[in-house]
Symmetry: C2
């Protein structure tokens, strides 16, 4: 009795739906039930077809597909997600207030990489940009509530509470960039150390003897690693590193200019500078020019990031290019693996950089 009543109600409803949108908010009226009715099969069979189950006979499959096509049926993600407990979406958390995020195209490029990979797999990216402490907490609530299948964290600061919270909640997590503190999560990074090293080796190879550096902030992995790479190259070439050739900035142009001023005061004999960002390199360049040093004749400069700024200075900056899109793709791949696989192995993927040579580091005696 109950069954019959239910069925008939559904049948008539199905009919209504076929005629177009019934209630408000009903974007696409067709449901599994409607398709099943039209194809003359059960809901379960339609579900099998939609999800590509192998145990459906070819004829039935054909009929069902025709019905789906005719009704323009699209599965309701909410309903599916309710039972599968998978949302088909990933959270991307950006906690960078301003700074790097806005001063170079790093962020959109990572995004594009991640997005490309997820789109290909029919997965969605949910963007979260907490602005305040309260926001961070809410973001944590949201992510822990199981609304996403996994999380990408960008620009992790030391005291960020999110990684611990998420891994406690058992949510797959991948970081963009090596975290400062050791957190139990996979991450993808570019080889900052090797990138810096190759830049400095290039300067040395073109005949520079007093190679200074303007490092990034030493509380950020990118700052630390690029300084380490600089020291690697210097140490290998000259056996010793020299603190008077090192100054610290914060990746901004002003900080680069100030650091350059300090370096010139300490070491008027320097003949090359490796800056850990293009912006700092640009700042250094303006100070050098103002001080009457010719670039690259008197002092060579190499920047980092290969950002648009590198091409807007005069002379244009030699710079270290990073495979940022690829980094994003790799992050997405890692995350999907973590969600689908059962192993909880943490992975570290480090991508190689490339030195782009321009006028600012041309050899002393070359044209």
């Amino acid at each position: 009795m109950v069954n019959i009543k239910r069925e008939s109600a559904l049948t008539s409803e199905g009919g209504v739906r076929l005629n177009g949108a019934s209630g408000r908010n009903r974007r696409n009226g067709s449901t599994l039930e409607g398709v099943a009715l039209l194809a003359g099969v059960s809901r379960a069979t339609v579900s099998r077809v939609v999800n590509g189950s192998p145990k459906v006979s070819p004829e039935v499959r054909r009929d069902v597909e025709a019905a789906i096509e005719r009704l323009g049926y699209v599965p309701n993600r909410a309903a599916r997600s309710l039972v599968t407990r998978r949302s088909g979406s990933f959270g991307l958390v950006i906690t960078e207030p301003t700074g790097r995020l806005f001063s170079d195209p790093f962020f959109p490029r990572v995004l594009r990489g991640i997005s490309a990979e997820l789109t290909a797999r029919d997965l969605q990216l949910i963007l979260l940009m907490p602005n305040s402490k309260a926001d961070v907490s809410r973001t944590g609530d949201y992510l822990s509530a199981g609304h996403v299948d996994g999380v990408v964290l960008v620009s992790l600061h030391g005291e960020d509470p999110l990684p611990a919270r998420l891994s406690a909640a058992g949510i797959p997590l991948v970081l963009v960039g090596r975290p400062l503190r050791d957190v139990s999560a996979s991450y993808v990074d570019v080889d900052n150390r090797q990138g810096a090293r190759s830049a400095v080796e290039h300067l040395i190879a073109t005949g520079r003897n007093a190679v200074a550096t303007i490092s990034g902030p030493l509380d950020m992995p990118a700052g630390i690693d690029r300084l380490a790479g600089y020291r690697d190259a210097i140490g290998e070439a000259f056996r010793v590193t020299d603190a008077t050739l090192e100054a610290t900035g914060d990746f901004t142009q002003e900080s680069g200019a100030k650091a350059m001023t300090r370096l010139l005061a300490k070491r008027p004999d320097l003949d090359a500078v490796f800056a850990a960002s293009d912006l700092m390199a640009a700042g250094a360049l303006s100070v050098l020019t103002a001080a009457g040093r010719q670039v690259p004749q008197d002092v060579a400069i190499v920047g980092y990031d290969d950002s648009p700024v590198a091409k807007s200075t005069h002379p244009q900056l030699t710079s270290v290019r990073q495979p940022i899109e690829e980094m994003g793709r790799e992050v997405a791949r890692l995350l999907v693996e973590a969600v689908e696989g059962t192993d909880r192995v943490q992975r570290r993927v480090i991508l190689a950089t490339e030195l782009v040579k321009r006028a600012s580091s041309a050899g002393r005696h070359s044209p």
Copy 2:
């Protein structure tokens, strides 16, 4: 009988859940049912409390809230969305292949504005960056399927099929930036025309007589409007505009340099340039310097965007600053209104710009 059985089953399940995660994938075991059991009320009442219904007595509300707190209950969005037919999320579509998206911080800033506004309302942002024609089509499928409550479109190109498709599907739509073709959707834009006009008026006010412009591409609203603003100011000051003072670029630095070369050839007497982007201004600056013109003494320059590049040139560029975050916030507000309200009125919101004066346009005779 059935009821009792059902209740008891749930009770025992509830117990299990209290002890922690039961099955895999169960992030947070507590449900409305569990909270109701603990608080000694019905599911419906808990639902009322959660959704802030006024018709709940203070004592009951207190009890329920305590139970929610104790269980760490978080509503399941999928279940809610299944019945409300609202997803609580908006799609953000970016169809810009490279160009502007990566050469200035416009995009992250808009994003931040949108995100701030949505986060405050507990709504989610789903990012979609179609890379190919096929991607665009899939994106359209996704958005039309009712998985989002509304859509933001950024950087609309002329032949983009999305607006028509979405408005046909009845999905609220807001555009970032005025579209080239007239589409039936609300949009938010900055006042490109007035921004350009004020820049040129500034040049004229500081004694320049032959003010040239390097416009953006004339198939983009930003390019068209900024040129119109230039002509407004010139027309008003001199009664006529002069085509020999106009050259077209594509917002990039190289195009700015080339346009400047052309302008110098046509009008060696020019004493000011308004470029429709900072990058083009930077390109123009390098050409002028190479040609032996002093900036700002011989030729003044004003850029547009107030991007980091504006501060990296020498001299630094006067530029038109746009309220980009605010633009994002406004977009989000419009969209939320469109979803919640019943009126389908299209709105156009135009935000004012601000001229940031720097050395590149200092008066001819000032220090």
